[in-house]
Amino acid sequence: MPDAIVAEGLSKTFNGSVKAVDSISFIVQEGEVYGFLGPNGAGKTTTLSMLTAVLGPTAGRAVVDGLDVFHQPHELKQRIGLVFQESTADQDLTGRENLELAAALFNVPVRDTPTRVAYLLDRLALSDSADRLVKTFSGGMRRRLELAVGIIHSPRVLFLDEPTLGLDPQGRAGFWKIVRELREETGMTVFLTTHYLDEADGMCDRIAIIDHGKIVATGTPSQLKDRVGGDVVTIRPSGAAPGLEAALRALPNVSGVTTQDGTLRVKCPSGESLIPKAVAAASSLGVGLAGVSLRRPSLDEVFLEFTGREYREDEGPTATDRAVFLTRMQDNRRGRR
């Protein structure tokens, strides 16, 4: 299968010191749904911005649909679709007018434009509100309009930058259902960024986990879960637990034990059968337990496994956030001078 996206040593440093993306390399095959998963500020949007010629890289190269992103940006923009995380539709125009404008900008043939616009409005359940100003649209309608604008020209590669941010679960599910159907119908390659684990798990053929600007793991969702090593039993002692980690390691079928902040994570093929043995081991050592829980392999576990910390969707400001903040401050200062 040919490669739709090739990134080699892609890096982006803001203000000469803040590394938002740190020499990442990956390949996305044609027709694949490839997800970039990571917390806020991990470098997802910066990577996507470089792949879509919105942002120049500090180092590295990228090829999308056979075009060098940094030397053929104009040709590239004609072949890719881009859905931003924020609403970019013109609020003073109607939904139809926004699509007509996008059709003209992306060189959709004039004779095909009315049919294509009508098809997308219908396909994305926007026909009834097509002639209303976008400023009157709900959040879900705006997201669907963004998607329609992004695919008006039937792009070969579609980039989705956290497209369901701010939507309720129902809206998110509806959005992904449409993307899945469109992808099946057209066979286009989809590159998406998300910080929702369930979205990455449900949508992507392959996932790259990005943290602090580096890819820490890649694979299919099931490959990544397998690498966690089956179920995870989390044991929280009520006090000091000398010897408990060693005792747990000695139990049959345990593939690994890690301790973080006094909590022990035990990896094993079957959590249900391990729990009574683990409780008995703690009891025999005289260690009281505050709680025991079983977690099936999930991307939360994968994230924890590869980054060494729990996944939080509302993590605080990171390198990119700080860089963007600094850039805006400097722009403001320049504006004042």
């Binding site: 879509t52 010629a53 919105v54 942002l55 120049g56 940094f70 940006p73 104009h74 923009k77 004609q78 881009l82 931003f84 924020e86 609403s87 970019t88 539709a89 013109d90 609020q91 003073d92 125009l93 007018e97 007509e100 404008l101 996008a102 003209a104 900008l105 992306f106 060189n107 004039v110 100003l133 604008v149 805006r328 722009d331 403001n332 504006g335 004042r336």
Partner: protein, 284 residues
């Protein structure tokens, strides 16, 4: 062909937005209307001069014509200036819209499409330059109307030829292109609306006060006349006044001043194109 289509589509967008925002048009007209209705009515110099006991009516008329470069009264002189100045006040929204499009993400969307910086700038320039021409003629119509309702109004004393009318339209258009380019380049460069409006205010008033839009030419200090002679607003209103009141008091024909305006418009257009390209290029 596709570039023309992109231009047309982006220009249509600008015009649709304009048509759906009558408040912006009203605000553009507010300043010149207030000047015509309040300032112009109170400062009609012809009345003041006629009250002088030391001059006979012929001398008064001659003095007035010298001061006002052939205009029959101050209101007529000044209303031609206001017609020119509306081009400045109306174009400032063109730049402000760029900043709001940045804030609302619309510009990001357009920049991510195959549209070039020239398409994006050009469409805004076309829409932004056509609007002031329309507004200028509204101000002109109002100034003429005021003279027919018992107030001071614009009295055109020369017979305006077809060529003269074209010169008038062209002068307003060139002035609009020049200021639309200036404000667009500010809009693409500045990120914060407050900063933009502060800069615009710092430009507008000095431009107005160092031009011959308000100031009677004969009463202007020589040093200020030297500055005002190169002010694009002056050049535009001179073209209007030559066509409205005759060219007796002017050094050159209207087309010479039009050439000066053209030079201003080309210079500002070139600077704005370069700044826009830089602003829309992928960030390094």
């Amino acid at each position: 062909m596709s570039a023309v289509r992109r231009w047309a589509a982006l220009t249509r967008r600008e015009l649709l937005k304009l048509a759906r925002n009558p408040a912006a048009i009203a605000t553009s007209l507010l300043l010149p209307i207030l000047y015509l209705l309040l300032f112009g009515q109170g400062f009609n110099f012809s009345g003041l001069l006629k009250a002088s006991p030391f001059l006979n009516p012929t001398e008064q008329a001659l003095l007035l014509q010298q001061d006002l470069l052939g205009a029959p009264d101050y209101f007529s002189y000044f209303s031609a200036g206001m017609v020119g100045f509306v081009a400045v006040t109306a174009t400032l929204f063109v730049g402000a819209n760029v900043i709001f499009d940045k804030l609302f993400g619309t510009l990001k969307r357009t920049a991510a499409s195959p549209a070039t910086a020239t398409d994006i700038f050009g469409a805004r320039l076309v829409a932004g330059s056509l609007q002031p021409v329309g507004l200028a003629f509204l101000v002109l119509g109002l100034a003429l109307l005021l003279g027919h309702v018992g107030l001071s109004g614009l009295h055109i004393t020369a017979s305006v030829s077809v060529l003269g009318a074209l010169e008038v339209v062209l002068s307003i258009l060139l002035l609009s292109v020049m200021f639309a380019s200036l404000f667009l380049s500010l809009g693409f460069t500045i990120e914060v609306p407050q900063t933009y409006f502060a800069v615009v205010n710092a430009i507008n008033l000095p431009v107005l006060l160092t031009s011959a839009a308000l100031y009677p030419w004969g009463s202007m200090p020589v040093w200020l006349q030297s500055i005002a002679s190169y002010n694009p607003v002056t050049l535009a209103v001179w073209v209007l006044r030559i066509n409205f009141f005759g060219d007796t008091y002017y050094k050159y024909a209207a087309w010479v001043y039009l050439l000066g305006l053209l030079a201003w418009a080309i210079a500002m257009f070139t600077i704005a194109t370069l700044l826009t390209r830089r602003a829309l290029a992928p960030k390094r």
